[in-house]
């Protein structure tokens, strides 16, 4: 416990030299896989995730006895979220054995992984306009290459990027970010500061939550907290995380815009028409 908190109080600097409100370096790419409908690669600090989106395509699972060998296998390892009269969103998370310091084999049926899958799938179901694609499946496959904190947030952000690349309509970017608090769960510490975007070491030691919002708004699509923290501190942490989400949204938007601008420049897509002026 003392490692982070003790130094933080002296210099107001965190273990990796950031201040309380600094995001880690965020780097992303879209369209990394030519064969996929949509793909992305996202680094948030040292947490690195790849995402591949397939679909929307006709649901493999059919009512009745038709389910072949592929059907049940796919459904048991992925978590799905269905929308009424809309596409099914199936999320699979594969964690590389090399993604953490201690090489650990984590099976796909691990409950923790299943919970992550369910969280991502349900959050995406709330953001995507899945009702436009009845009877189809949007398969989101996430590959964790390296873990250093804020894993759930990174997974959510990477899948958002890949879905934007796949051209699946959505209400707004679904972005997520973590926030922590410098004190433990003890009641007394009033001077605890909120921290933005925790790395793996900080996650081990400090209470934190993951917050996902729809765009840069206060509308919370995802909120996961797994550590003990005073109830009064919740609001501060959520505020900081929501603010971080706004900045991550801007960063993701920049990635998409850069790619779009590049495509327009290269003539791959026709220029957009500007609105206004010739209205009347």
């Amino acid at each position: 416990m003392p490692l982070d908190t003790s130094t933080y109080n002296l210099a107001l600097l965190r273990v990796d030299g950031r201040r309380w409100n600094d995001l880690r370096r965020l780097h992303g790419q879209i369209r990394t896989q030519a064969a996929a409908d949509g793909s992305s690669y996202l680094e948030m600090g040292n947490t690195k995730v790849m995402c591949v989106v397939t679909g929307p395509s006709e649901s493999a699972r059919r009512g009745g006895a038709g389910g072949g060998a592929g059907g049940p296998a796919a459904s048991s390892s992925s978590s799905t979220a269905t929308t009424p009269n809309g596409a099914e969103i199936a999320v699979t998370i594969v964690t590389g054995g090399f993604s953490t310091v201690d090489r650990k084999k984590r099976s796909r049926t691990d409950k923790r992984v299943q919970e992550l899958q369910a969280g991502v799938a349900k959050a995406l179901a709330g953001a995507l306009h899945a009702h436009l694609y009845p009877r189809s499946t949007i398969a989101v496959s996430l590959h964790v290459l390296s873990q250093d904190g804020s894993l759930l947030a990174c997974l959510v952000n990477a899948s958002t990027l890949a879905l934007v690349d796949a051209g699946v309509p959505m209400t707004d970017y679904l972005v997520a970010c973590t926030a922590g608090s410098t004190s433990g769960h003890g009641a007394g510490d009033e001077g605890a500061d909120p921290l933005l975007d925790l790395n793996g070491q900080e996650e081990q030691e400090l209470p934190f939550l993951t917050l996902g919002t729809l765009g840069a708004t206060d509308r919370v699509a995802l909120l996961v907290c797994e550590s003990r923290v005073q109830v009064g501190r919740l609001e501060g942490m959520m505020a900081v995380a929501a603010d971080g989400c706004g900045h991550i949204r801007a960063a993701l938007d920049r990635i998409v815009r850069d790619k779009g601008a590049q495509m327009v420049r290269e003539g791959a897509i026709a220029k957009g028409e500007s609105i206004g002026m010739d209205l009347d």
């Binding site: 995001l23 370096r25 327009v264 028409e273």
Partner: protein, 353 residues
């Protein structure tokens, strides 16, 4: 595009200063990364767009109530706004605003020429993968019977449905009708359409942006390959399915997709529809033709890799260019490799840069 390894230079780091209270704000200003390029918070509203700008999900396109929303947008009632739901370029048709996504799956439209693959045979119809969100249908009643006979489909036809098309076979067809959920119904009731053989299949991105096949006046055409030194008279057919599926095959006089444009009149077609239209057997193909089919395939791959559109003009020009390049480099006609740097040169030559 593969992942590029970045140099270790520090990319622009989104920092934030959210509460402007005493100690925090001055510690922010002295050491923190100062960002002038940081994007403003909240929904990015209408801003002066440069020509190459795109709209992204959640971006407000307009608050003017006189516009109507089209594909790729949604509205909220309060305040009345049209908001983009995909990343792409804006397009206007009269008062209709829509956003063309940078890339998306193929969305069928009536009249599209598509190349598809049979994935399932049902009682009186086939289910065809055309790269769309849902499988397309091809009813038994929407195909030509061998010999060009016009009659009702009987139970006998239903029983031998697999003799026409069976699983895994490729066909070229036209979208005849759309269901409410966006699924397409195909037909092959023309000599241009039907089963495909004697060639290769390739899939690129279809209409929906990001290069790939675009809707054009003519999706199927014949390529003259005599310039490459192949034996005279041989030609190859190219079918650019609007859905991004492409078929390149040996040209057979009076048959195949390009027949209608160059071929004989309607009466002769009736007679010439032989019994072999549903044959799955390849004819013998001269080596030269095979080579040129492979070269055409390379050209299209290079076009797609370099983000260029795929249509008749580009493929024809690209093909000529590729023949020239192969000849110019003295590697002989057999050099077909058009990947990487070479493909880039080809693309550059085509767009004149």
């Amino acid at each position: 595009m593969p992942i590029t390894i970045l140099p270790p230079s520090v990319a622009q780091e989104p920092t934030r200063s959210l509460y402007q209270d005493g100690s925090q704000s001055d510690s922010d200003s002295d050491g923190g990364v100062d960002l002038d390029g940081d994007v403003s918070m909240g929904r990015p509203t209408k801003r002066a767009r440069r020509d190459e700008a795109i709209v992204t999900p959640g971006e407000v396109i307009t608050e003017d109530p006189q516009w109507m929303r089209g594909h790729g947008t949604y509205t909220i009632p309060e305040p009345p706004q049209i908001i983009s739901s995909v990343a792409g370029t804006l397009s206007k048709t009269n008062k209709l605003l829509s956003v063309r996504p940078l890339r998306a799956r193929y969305t069928p439209e009536i009249g599209d020429l598509v190349v598809g693959r049979i994935v399932e045979v049902q009682a009186r119809r086939w289910r065809v993968d055309v790269g769309a969100a849902l499988l397309a249908q091809l009813p038994l009643s929407a195909i030509n019977l061998p010999g060009g006979i016009q009659r009702r489909r009987t139970e006998t036809d239903e029983l031998q449905i697999r003799t026409f098309f069976s699983e895994g076979e490729l066909l070229v067809a036209e979208v005849q009708q759309l269901y409410n959920d966006g699924a397409a119904v195909l037909h092959t009731r023309s000599l241009k359409y039907g089963k495909l053989r004697n060639g290769v299949f390739m899939a690129v991105t279809g209409t929906g942006g990001g290069g790939g096949v675009v809707r054009a006046r003519r999706q199927a055409f014949t390529l003259d390959i005599s310039s490459s030194g192949a034996e005279g008279g041989e030609k190859i057919d190219v079918i650019l399915g609007v859905n991004g599926y492409i078929w390149i095959s040996k040209h057979i006089e009076g048959e195949g997709a390009a027949a209608e444009s160059s071929g004989p009149g309607i009466t002769r077609i009736e007679e010439s529809v032989g019994l072999n239209v549903y044959s799955s057997q390849n004819d013998s193909i001269p080596l030269d033709t095979m080579r040129e089919i492979a070269r055409t395939r390379g050209v299209i791959t290079a076009l797609v890799e370099n983000g260029l559109r795929v249509d008749e003009e580009m493929v024809t020009k690209g093909y000529q260019e590729a023949v020239e390049m192969a000849r110019g480099e003295g590697e002989g006609d057999d050099s077909l490799w058009l990947g990487g740097e070479k493909g880039k040169r080809l693309a550059d030559a085509l767009v004149g840069r």
